[in-house]
Every structure is written in C-alpha cells, then in structure tokens.
C-alpha cells in the first residue's frame, strides 16, 4: 500500500525508449470495504483532469465504494492519480448533493419539482424568443459533460433557438489549444499521442506543470526518466515545479513574455540550420514571414525581455534542434497568458520547421484542461460548428442543416460564435436576458469576480443553473436543476489525445437528479422545437441514440467517429479517433503523410491575424491556396497589457495544485484531498519575502486594481517579482457570502482575452502586497509540489510534509499483465 497523497505519482516502473510502459493497477476502496465485497466493477474513465484514464467503479449496495485503473487502457495502463483515486467517487457520493429542483420565491431558493422548474424555464424562454428573438438567449456550459450532452445542447442552441451565444468554461482552459491547431493545421485535432512519451528523446513542456495537472501522464515521464535512456527535458515555467526540477534546462520566463521566448527558439533553429528544408518546401507555407518576424530575437534579446539566461535559450534550442525525436506539450502557462495563440502556434512552428510530426516520438500535445473539453469543441456547444465545420463555409452550414433537417438560415453563421467573455458582457448590457449555465461555476472561475458577481445578479437576468451542488454561482440562479453525476449516467467522452471512452452508469442518481442529456431533451420537447417535417428536433430516447446521431455528424470530418459503437468501446481500451472504415482500430497520430486539413473546402477555419484576431476570410484564404500544407502563423511580440509599475510592482499569476480540480466542488469533498490542501495561500520568492519582511505563514493582502485577497504566504521557489495564487478556493465551504470574501484568486485577475482564441488572460496581472498579520505557523500549502517551501522559513517552524496517512493508502499492483499494445496497423507499418 502506498500513501498516494504523500507519493503523488506512485511507485516507479522504469522502462526504456521504444519499450511499452509497464502496467501498474492502482486501486482504492472505501474504508472497511474488502475487494471480495465489491458487487460490480463498472467501466468508465476518469473526469478529474484531462488525461482520460480508464477507470472501473466499484459498486456495493447501490453505491460507489471505490475505483481501480483499467490495466488494458492505452491511456493509463492501470494507473490513477490522487484526484481520480479519492475524488472521482467521493466527490459524487456525498450528502450535499442537490436532489430536487430549486426555484426562486420571494428572493429565496426553495425546493420544487421538475414540472414547476421546467415550466418556469420554458415560459421565460418562450416569452423572450417571441419578444426579442434568439439573441436574448445565452448558454455557458462546461468541460465536464458527456459528448451526447454537448451534441444535444449544440442542436438545441443552434437549430432550436438559433443563438450564436454558446460557449463553455472550455474557453478558460482549452480554447487556445483548438485555436492554435486551427491556425497551423486548418482544423482542431491533436497531432500527437501519449505513446510519444515512450518513444521520444527530448520533451519540451511549455507552460505545462504536467506533474500536477496530469499526474498519470507525468508518471509515464518519470518512468522514462528512471529508465536507461531517459529523455532530455526542457521546462518553461516561472515556478520551480516538479517538471522544472527534472529538467535539464529550466526557463523561468517572466509571466507574459512567452512569445518572445518562442521567437528566440525559432530563430536559433534558423540560424543553426536545424531545419528540414525538404519538409518545409513540401508541407508548409509562409516560412519567410516567420523568419522575418523572429529575426530580432537573439538569445540576448530574449534574455532581456523574458528574464532568463541567454545561454539557457541556446541550450534549449540545441536540444530541440539536435534531438532525433522531440515531443512538446503546451498548457495554461501559454494558454492563459499574453499572446496565447501566437505563442502556442510557436510550438507548432518549431515542429514544422524540423518535420517532427506524425512519427514515433515526434508529437505535439496541445493539452486540454478538462476531461471532456475535446467533446465540447467537437460537438460545438462552445459555439464552433459541430464536427469541426467552418462557420464561414456555406456548404458546411448546409450539411448541418441537412443532418438536423432544419432551414440553414436558423443556424447562426453570420459571425464568429460569441465567446464566453462577450456573452457575459451582453448579459451586463442587458441584451442577453436568459442565461443557462451547466456544470460550471463562473462566480469563482471567471476573471475579475467583483464584476462577474454584479453580472450574475443583474436585474432582468433569468439564470438557470444545472449542477451537482449548490455552488457559489447557484446563489444567483432563478432555477437550479439537480444533475446526475459521472457514474450515474451513461455516455462517452474524449481526452487530449483523441481517445474515446465509454462511461457506464454504475448507480442511480440521488433523489430526483437527472442527466444533463435528459434535461436538454426535456427542454427541447417542451419548447416544441421541430424539424422541417414537423417531427421533434431531438427525437432521441437514450444516450446511445445521441451517439449514433453524432457519428453521422462526424462522417468524413477529421474527428470521424463512424467506426465506433458503444459495443466496440465496451470491455477493452478507449479508442483514438479518427475511427472509420480506413482506420477501424482508430488512429495513433495525425499527419503521418504531411497532409494537413487546410484545403478551403475541408478546413475548420480560414484563420486569423494573430496580433489582432482579424479574420482572414474565404477569398484571401483561397487565394493563399494552402492545398494541404500547414501554415506558419506568428505575430510580433507585444508586452502584456498590464505590467508591474510603482503602485502594483508584482506580476500575479494563478494556477492549480495537484490535489484540487476547478472550484473544488468534488475534490473539496474528498477528505484526503481536502486535508492535503485545505485552504488558499500565495507564493512569493525567498528574496521578495525577505525584502518585505515576511516569513512563511505571515498573512498578506494581495491587491490588484480590481480587488484583493487575504492569504498566508508560502515562501516558495517562484521567480523573483512574481506572485502565485491557486484558483480553486471560493466561498461555499467558508460560510461567507462571495461578495464579502477575499479568498478567490480571481478577485484580482483582469478582464482581457487573447485576440484569436478569446481565452482570458488569467495568468498575468499587476499586484501589490502588504502584510496584515503575523502568521500563527506555516501556511497549509502542499510541500510535495511546486508550492514546496524554499529558503529557511525565516526561523519559523517548517511546514509539515504533506501526507495522507492511513486514509490515503492505495493498492498498487505492478505488472500483473503485459502492457496494452497501441492499437493500430499503421503503428506497425
């Protein structure tokens, strides 16, 4: 047994390049439950991060009582991370769950029934549609629902109501991944595979604290590092993360300067001739523009702007330029920072310059933050057109109209889909009066919370909320609908590397809670949304009906699901799309042939100018004639819009800790995880703490132009001049009204977004710090991760090492079976 709070990544199983990652089956059962007492193990995949680990749910007496990893799954080879082990089932099986619909009566939410709640929704919705039309409606969804639910929501929104105002919290986590791939390759679709970790010689992690955000993927990296021919690691991150500690080169860039670094790395490839001219000639376009843009970014210029060593830039570039096989991963350090899309395209550019794409060990993983974010992007509940279709291409719009049997003019395609921040702006201005939020908690997760709270409480707004718990956001709702959780409904979802999993219903939802799919189908039926022949717009009875309809929507598109069925997904491993007649076992890597989905008739987007976000448009795009070539996209570096000054001298950045997910609605209800990271903290460097007379645990007020938080200091390995706060902590377990609280990291963040991906810039703001009280002891920040203490703690008693004790023991079974083979025939060709 292993304490998986103290030992986050579990026992090492070293392996060499080109070997398969050994299996290790991780298992946890509720206290007092023996394995022999488990009545059923029900197949699923984990939803506590974006990795998509195959998981079995243990069921006893109609309840979830534990989990184990699925040994045959190509994603995790049996492993689970701390969140999967402790929060997946305990975060759902909890006394706080909503069991009945709530409606607002005289200003107070009171228990009600489905008939009353749905009729309130439908009557408001219908009245607004009659009076003001579809633009009065907005939907803000999640990265947590199942594929079938997003597809239902997309059809309801696009073909039932006809509103362009649909987005998800995926805008906060993964919008830039999608945008960068659309710009460079013509369509969303992850080029690489996790199996590239087994086969690479070097790994670059760009703004990606994989050790905390995808612990099982990091375990795979650690096992390579422990093996005989370990990959060389390069880490770009302002914090001293676990990744940084294992890196040969750590580039702790100033927050907000990623693009300057990318320009410097690209320039080194040109200058040193570390490029594949033949690949560039045959498979790419616009290389000269790229060369011109990066010309001024010598390693010294990068050092000056980014605050890193020029020689480290050279060393990093040399590792990229000379390693045979390079895998890059990218996440929020790039996506939630300044010039997000341009910086992320910079990673694509590095790989295109060397042709390191579509072959063993040579991948790009533009990561997702959430388990089902990929499906939101595919299905179009985030505003994109379903099946990676292009809203500027009338034929694509007509294809959807034919599939759904509706008039094409109903489907909003006259302008880009409205992104989340703009939806909230329209609510603020009063032109959206009906907002339906599902499975997300903007009252804690969105930037500049004082403003978001004002918007949510706006008079005249009718707010519907669908969730498991009475979240901070629920406090503002007019109707709260209790949702069935993971394990209480059946559906599919797709992870970062395109692997589709089936998640079966294991137990009944509590009380009257219903699946999100059933709720959307009920709304559609009550609203009377119809096809052209008069039949119901959504005539599905089950999630499998929805899946089958979705398959037709993907036929011939990059995300082709036509070769998948529920039956095929049952019993074995998840399968990576495209899965169709040509690829019956799925597809490990895209772009093996160097042909990209940039053809104007096929592409998902005609692209944008990365500095301004201006649309390229169909005429200019067709004139470019990309003809299956990838496109080097870039922009000049521009400093962040809010940089430190005399009044606000620190750069403020936000992020995660390994023990929590989002706003802790699930992880905060797992005793093991909550115990490991019970409360907020802020991180300061040793030098900054000293110059402010602060020691570990002292309580500070951190203030931006928009708000302040009060939290104890963790003196950590963060770079000088930067302050970090975890964004998980809100107010539901604090017993104060959100408007009176000062715990959420987003009280301080700025309302600003990337011009292309529209992802909010959550990782860059200017703040100041003042001490408000001496600490009573060390802060409660975890000691096992990037928040590990640094320096000598100013004489204060050091923080206790983070551990889980007896309650956090997990069983690990090493190599009970051989590792799963990666499925496809092209793997062997």
């Amino acid at each position: 047994m292993v304490d998986r709070i103290a030992d986050i990544w579990g026992t090492r199983t070293p392996y060499a390049r080109d070997e398969r990652w050994p299996v290790r089956v991780d298992q946890v059962l509720a206290e007092g439950v023996r394995e022999s007492e488990v009545e059923r193990w029900v197949q699923s995949a984990c939803v506590l991060c974006s990795n998509g680990c195959g998981i079995d749910i243990a069921v006893k007496d109609g309840s979830m009582v534990g989990v184990r990893g699925r040994s045959m799954d190509i994603v995790n080879h049996g492993r689970l991370g701390p969140k999967g082990l402790f929060a997946s089932w305990q975060g759902v099986n909890n006394k706080d769950r909503l069991t009945k619909p709530l409606v607002r009566e005289n200003g107070v939410l009171v228990e009600s029934d489905w008939e009353t709640a749905m009729e309130r929704i439908v009557s408001r919705s219908r009245a607004l549609l009659d009076e003001k039309g579809p633009l009065s409606h907005g939907f803000y969804t999640s990265g947590q629902l199942f594929l079938e639910e997003y597809y239902a929501q997309a059809i309801v929104g696009k073909a039932g109501i006809g509103t362009p105002h649909m987005d998800g919290n995926t805008r906060l986590c993964t919008a830039t991944a999608a945008a960068a791939m659309k710009e460079s390759f013509g369509s969303d679709g992850q080029p690489g595979s996790y199996v590239d970790i087994d086969e690479c010689d070097a790994m670059f992690l760009f703004g990606h604290n994989m050790a905390e955000t995808q612990t099982v993927l990091w375990a795979r990296v650690l096992d390579r590092i422990a093996g005989p021919d370990k990959p060389r690691l390069v880490c770009v991150d302002p914090r001293d993360t676990e990744v940084a500690r294992h890196a040969e080169v750590h580039l702790p860039v100033r927050p907000g300067t990623n693009l300057a670094l990318m320009h410097g790395l690209v320039r080194e490839l040109f200058v040193n001739g570390w490029i594949d001219q033949d690949y560039i000639d045959r498979h790419t376009m616009n290389v000269d523009e790229l060369r011109t843009t990066v010309e001024q970014w010598t390693p010294e210029a990068v050092a000056e702007t980014c605050g890193v060593e020029a020689d480290d830039v050279r060393r990093a570039a040399e590792i990229f330029g000379t390693s045979e096989r390079v895998l890059s991963t990218v996440l929020q350090g790039f996506y939630q920072s300044s010039q997000a899309t341009a910086s992320s395209c910079g990673v694509n550019n590095l790989h295109l310059l060397r042709g390191l794409l579509g072959k063993a060990g040579c991948g790009i993983l533009q990561m997702n933050g959430q388990p089902t974010a990929q499906n939101n992007r595919e299905c179009g509940a985030d505003g994109d057109l379903s099946g990676f279709r292009n809203w500027e291409n009338p034929e694509h719009v007509q294809e959807l109209a034919d599939l759904w049997n509706v008039d094409a003019s109903v489907i909003p395609h006259w302008a880009p889909p409205t992104h989340a921040m703009q939806i909230f702006r329209y609510v603020e201005q009063g032109s959206i009066e009906f907002l339906w939020i599902s499975a997300t908690n903007p009252a804690v997760s969105m930037p500049q919370l004082p403003r978001i709270r004002d918007i949510l409480s706006a008079e005249g707004l009718f707010l519907v909320l669908q969730d498991l718990y009475l979240t901070e956001t629920a406090q503002y709702a007019d109707v709260v609908l209790p949702a069935a959780a993971w394990g209480e409904k059946t559906g599919t979802f797709t992870n970062v590397n395109r692997t589709v999993h089936l998640s079966e219903k294991a137990v009944e939802p509590p009380g009257e809670a219903r699946s999100d799919l059933d709720t959307f189908l009920d709304y559609s039926m009550r609203m009377g949304f119809k096809q052209l022949d008069g039949s119901p717009l959504l005539g599905w009875a089950t999630s499998e009906d929805a899946f089958n309809a979705w398959k037709e929507c993907t036929r011939g598109r990059p995300c082709d699901y036509t070769g998948l069925t529920y039956e095929k997904l049952r019993g074995g491993s998840g399968v990576p799309w495209p899965c169709n007649e040509d690829h019956p076992e799925g597809t490990v890597r895209l772009y093996r042939d160097g042909v990209f989905p940039t053809d104007p008739e096929y592409c998902e987007s005609y692209g944008h100018d990365l500095l301004t976000g201006a649309s390229v448009g169909p005429e200019a795009y067709k004139a470019m004639d990309p003809a299956g070539r990838a496109i080097f996209k870039t922009a000049p570096y521009h400093p962040a819009h809010e940089t430190p000054d005399q009044d606000y001298p620190f750069r403020y950045t936000t992020g995660r800790t390994v023990y929590h997910f989002h706003t802790r609605t699930k992880t905060g209800r797992s005793p093991q995880l909550n115990g490991a990271a019970p409360d907020v903290w802020v991180e300061m460097s040793v030098n900054d703490a000293e110059s402010y007379g602060l020691v570990e645990g002292d309580v500070v007020r951190v203030e931006s132009r928009r708000g302040h938080i009060i939290a104890p200091v963790r003196v950590s390995g963060i770079r000088d001049g930067s302050i970090f706060a975890p964004f998980h902590y809100g107010y539901w377990d604090e017993g104060v009204a959100p408007s009176a609280g000062h715990r959420a990291a987003n009280e301080l963040t700025i309302t600003e977004w990337d011009p292309v991906s529209k992802q909010p810039v959550l990782k860059n703001a200017a703040v100041r710090v003042e001490k408000v009280a001496d600490g009573a002891g060390a802060s409660s920040a975890p000691t096992t991760t990037a928040s590990r203490p640094a320096g000598r703690g100013g004489g204060r008693k050091p923080a206790l090492p983070t551990a889980g004790g007896p309650a956090a023991q997990a069983q690990e079974t090493i190599a009970p079976v051989p590792p799963p083979a990666v499925a496809t025939k092209e793997e062997h060709s």
Binding site: K132, G133, L135, S136, P164, W414, A415, P416, T418, M421, Q422, R425, Y426, Q429, G430, S431, I432, D609, L611, T612, G613, A614, S615, V616, G617, H638, H641, I750, T751, E752, W753, P755
Partner: protein, 153 residues
Amino acid sequence: MKLPVYLGLLHKSEGTLAESFRQVSEGHGHEPDVHFLCQALAAQCEEHQKALQPIIDRYGEVEDDDEPERLHADGLQDTRSGPVGLLRDLQDLYLLASLVDITWTMVKQAAQGLRDKELLDVVTGCDGQTSTQLKWLQTRMKQAAPQALIAAG
C-alpha cells in the same frame, strides 16, 4: 510633382487615425479587446508616420494644396456609448483607415513609377498592417452588429 501632397495626406491621415484609435480605446474601456487593441493599433499608425519621415525628408511634404485637401478626414470628435455607439465608432475608424489604406495604394503606384525602392519597402511594411486594421475592424463590427441592432435596448 504632386507626390509630396500625397505624402502629406498620408502622414496626416495616419496621425488622425492614431488619435482616433486612442480616443476609441479610452471611450470604450469596458470592451477590453477594443480598449487594448486600439492602443496597439494607434502605436502602429505612429510607427507608419515614423517610417514615412525619411521619404518626406527626400521629397518634402506639402501640407496645403487645393484639390487633395478635400480628402482630409477629421478624426472622431468624441466617442459614443452603448452597443450601437461602439458600432458607430468602429465604423468611423473604418472610414479613416480606408482613407489611409487607399492613400498607401496611391503612394505605392507612384513609388513603382519612380522605381523608388526605399519608398516601396516602406509601403510594403505599412500597407499590410493597415489592411489588417481594416480586417480587424470589419471582424469586430460583424460580431457586434446583430446584437447591437436587434437585441440591445
């Protein structure tokens, strides 16, 4: 030779456009994308002015001339408010940027006739940015128009 008249027109129009971008930026602080980007675009216009300076030093700049003077457009007097106000302000910027754009085209024609490589290089560097400014304005207005014209109060 009337090229100096057009160089003067261009120089002045870029200045007017820069000022107007700044004004819209300040007047629409609640639209962060407009706010920040207009600042960046104002700086771009000023860069264009700087890039033109050595050319103007060579050819001279005529500030006052009869015929083309009518082409000078005034900048924004002040910004409007509300969703339709934003749309109208962006539309004004679009008109000003169009004038700049077509003037670059005229100057480019002259530069080709003169085989003036230095001027051609300046045009190539700046005109592309001006047309991107126009495209951005169009993109942003297309996004804003339905809501402003149909749903906003």
